[in-house]
């Protein structure tokens, strides 16, 4: 069952007629998957929009408690990693396997830095008692603000629920992305990819761009406005 049809390259599965058909199918599948991802996040964007429309002043006050510098840095880190993935694909198209490895490594590094910064942000908030929803119990000072001023703002817990759920699920996607890149690094180290076959990298790249784009929406919506 595993051997490809006669006259086809080794990576073509037996139920496909040609390498092109297999590539087209894989790419279409990935795009559909990305659509479902967008819809998953759009549910949360709707929750965000609804609460923002109902309580705009709360959201304005709350964004003061988010560090736009750390968020901005993360934006740059993630943008950079999108570029390195793209470079990696361009390298393997030219047959440069070492270039591919370096770029995949850099991407993984960027993703790691992103998660590290996220950790710093979360840890600071938890220390100041900024938890989602019912556990919201601000104490002390955070980020130069006296938290006592924020304790009694109605619907502030909702903002942080939305903040933690959205960035949390986004962070989870980054973690999955890191897993994928580790797997890709191992495979490309073994020499599985060539200018003729680099579908997994191309598809993972698409996924990574989506993760990046979602952050580009999250950052201004949560931190800036």
């Amino acid at each position: 069952m595993a051997q490809p049809a006669a006259g086809q390259p080794a990576h073509v599965k037996h139920y496909f007629v040609s390498s092109d058909q297999q590539f087209d199918a894989a790419k279409m599948g990935m795009w559909l998957f990305l659509i479902t991802e967008i819809l998953l996040f759009s549910g949360m964007f709707v929750a965000y929009t609804v609460y923002r429309v109902w309580h705009p002043e709360v959201f304005l006050a709350a964004s003061d408690l988010l560090d736009w510098k750390l968020g901005g840095l993360n934006t740059l880190v993630l943008l950079g990693s999108s570029f390195t993935v793209a470079f990696g694909i361009q390298r393997i198209q030219k047959g440069d396997r070492k270039g591919l490895l370096i770029n995949l490594g850099l991407t993984l590094l960027c993703a790691g830095i992103f998660m590290l910064i996220k950790y710093v942000e979360y840890a600071g908030k938890f220390e100041a008692g900024i938890f989602p929803g019912a556990n919201f119990n601000p104490t002390g000072t955070y980020h130069g603000h006296d938290m006592a001023d924020y304790a009694d703002i109605l619907f502030l817990p909702q903002f942080f629920s939305i903040y933690f759920v959205m960035t949390g699920i986004h962070g989870f996607h980054v973690l999955i992305g890191m897993g994928i890149f580790i797997w890709l690094i191992i495979r490309s180290y073994k020499g599985d990819f060539s200018p003729e076959y680099y579908t997994p990298i191309e598809l993972s790249g698409l996924y990574w761009h989506l993760v990046d784009i979602i952050w580009i929406f999250l950052f201004p919506l949560l931190y800036l406005i």
Partner: protein, 562 residues
Amino acid sequence: MHASSAAAPAVHYLNNEKTIKSWITTVDHKRIGVMYLVAVSLAFLAGGILALLVRTELAAPGETIMGPDAYNQSFTLHAVLMVFAFIIPAIPAVMGNFVLPIQLGAKDVAFPRLNLASFYIYLIGAVIALTALVVGRVDGGWTFYAPYSTSVGNGVLFITMGVFVMGFSSILTGLNFIVTVHKMRAPGLTWSRLPLFVWSIYATSIVQVLATPVIGITMLLLFLEKLVGIGIFDPALGGDPVLFQHFFWFYSHPAVYIMILPAFGVISDLMGTFSRNRVQGYKFVALSSVAIAFLGFLVWGHHMFVSGQSAVSSIVFSLITYLIGIPTGVKVINWVLTMYRGSVWLQTPMLYALMFLITFSIGGFTGIMLGVLAIDVHLHDTYFVVAHFHYVMMGGNVIAALGGLHYWWPKMFGRMYNETLARIAALLVFIGFNLTFFPQFIMGSRGMPRRYYDYLPEFEIFHQLSTLGSYVLGVGLFMILGYGIHSLFRGKKAPANPWGALTLEWTHTDSMPDPHNFHHTPVVTRGPYDYHLAPELFNDGVSGDGAGESAPEIVHRDTSEA
């Protein structure tokens, strides 16, 4: 390669490998379809037993066999199992998996390993949902309306997680089918030659891919609401329960189309095959399914006419609801017209198709009633609604699934079932179903609210009729299980094309199919219901009613590959 012409037992998808490992690691879409068949049948059995318990409790007012909490949990679990573990995967995952790639002339779906993964994800989800039973209360109805759902025991955590996980299975199956339909069609199989079953599964898959992520995030938010109190839906924490209803119905209304569109496909194929006629309005039936798939996203608010959403939104939702109702009605007319001047063969699958046309029509007309704003105010959340959606879900989806199962059974297992018993069972199902649910219309419009453990004496007669009907229905369904199992071991060997159908699974594969489906890639030269262009099938008369004649030799049109 017919069973009759081969000396050695023919190699087919069930006997090419026999180890247990070959089953649990199989990527063959046919085997995965069979595994789904077993799994969803178990879910149907569990949900059905719960339904019988619920009906038995309601046989008399007051406590009959269980207390209110046990009753409330029974109907909740009945609904969750039936909706998420049975109806949604029933036709797409069982028959879609088995039939769709063959109807396309493909050797498998586009992503076989992903297909197997969806099966396991489904199993894991179902197990997580069932864990709720052990851990705590499963209460709140399948709609999980906040804040009640988050105010009772921890069972809801497992149920929501289970639904969330099963959702991924649904998404991946849909994704797989869309790509398969787009990229894996055999030479000559143009879009206008696709069997209507393929069209409907295609439309279903679009809904699965677009809607399921939303229930995913809704269930996740509800899960977090219960776990850490995020306060998005719970009014005690400043959340909004109506927002939950919007989220929930934004998925769950399209989910109704996930449940009914595949049934449309099965019925179309059955009407065409057993009338030996082109399905009337092929293009209309095909494209309106896809249109419904998209329009289905715009009507969720018709579940919320009395919920506290604005009057304007109610009015808009009511109007769009009608726009969807019309093409559905036209389809019914098309199916009836398919028999006109045809050659109608009243075998068991066709009996189910005709049954579907009757029960689904009742479901449709009562749907129109519920869509009328002023009438819905009265009927909302009464037994009228319960009866309506059972007529659509069970009278639509389940009846069609039974028809499809009887239709493809010979292809799946290479055996015929006992036609006489099958007809008796079909009759029992029809009588039992109508006796169960028709009285519910009457008591509903007279004011009996749904999800009631106890009721006033004036409703007793209707409840008793309904309970009686549910037993008849149960007998009919168990009968199907009985002769089905009998057929697996003792049934008469099925010919390749017992119904004289024209789609590829009948004309180009054996019963049962080869592990790779086809010996040669088929080339399609005619439409799926162009019986008048297929004289080779009908020269000597077609048998296969299970009564003893041998099957005609099928002329394989497998011209060699280019």
